[in-house]
Symmetry: C2
Subunit: 110 residues, 2 copies
């Protein structure tokens, strides 16, 4: 058996805007994704309302998250946080190239 090693920063998608998702690990309850955002904002008035807890860390770039209570959380490199399930949030903005892997954790099998 050979264990495959990959690099998180290899083959980063190009592009001037938008988001790119790459699954790094997945089973019935957990999904680990590499998210790469380019100067991305969620659509005005759009809120994520997820059934899963989300743990996320910014490894390159920066990101501002907005919460439904008006709070804006600024994330720089190395910053991590947990967004509990059903806590509404949106991406206010990200830097030109923001690499922020996330772990989504379901309470029940998906």
């Amino acid at each position: 058996m050979t264990i495959a090693v990959k690099n998180l920063f290899a083959n980063l998608p190009g592009g001037a805007s938008g988001e790119d998702f790459l699954t790094l690990f997945e089973n019935r309850r957990v999904k680990i994704s590499r998210i790469v955002s380019h100067a991305h904002s969620s659509p005005a008035g759009f809120w994520y309302d997820q059934a899963e807890d989300e743990w996320v860390i910014v490894l390159r770039g920066q990101a501002d998250l907005e919460f439904a209570n008006g709070e804006v959380v600024k994330m720089a490199e190395g910053d991590w946080l947990t967004i509990p399930r059903h806590v509404k949030h949106r991406i206010a903005r990200t830097a030109d190239e923001t690499v922020w892997p996330a772990v989504h954790v379901s309470q029940t099998a998906v």
Copy 2:
């Protein structure tokens, strides 16, 4: 409700050897940990034989993992891999300061 932001590289433990574990997220099935290793090796002849799948990424430093089939996998910054449950492995060595968060995923509730 306030979402707390923390930095992965803040308050790194000092010390010239050994390993430090800090829990970043935990529920019944998933545990996300910050592991900081200083020129660490597992004891000779010791093998991890874990009941959980482990996803791990090196963010600072480097680490060499040895597997029971004799294979040695060298991990540099940004490198990640998944160690399936019950795949025996040990830490052959790490750099002086290696920061490598890990996600342990149970198949059943723990």
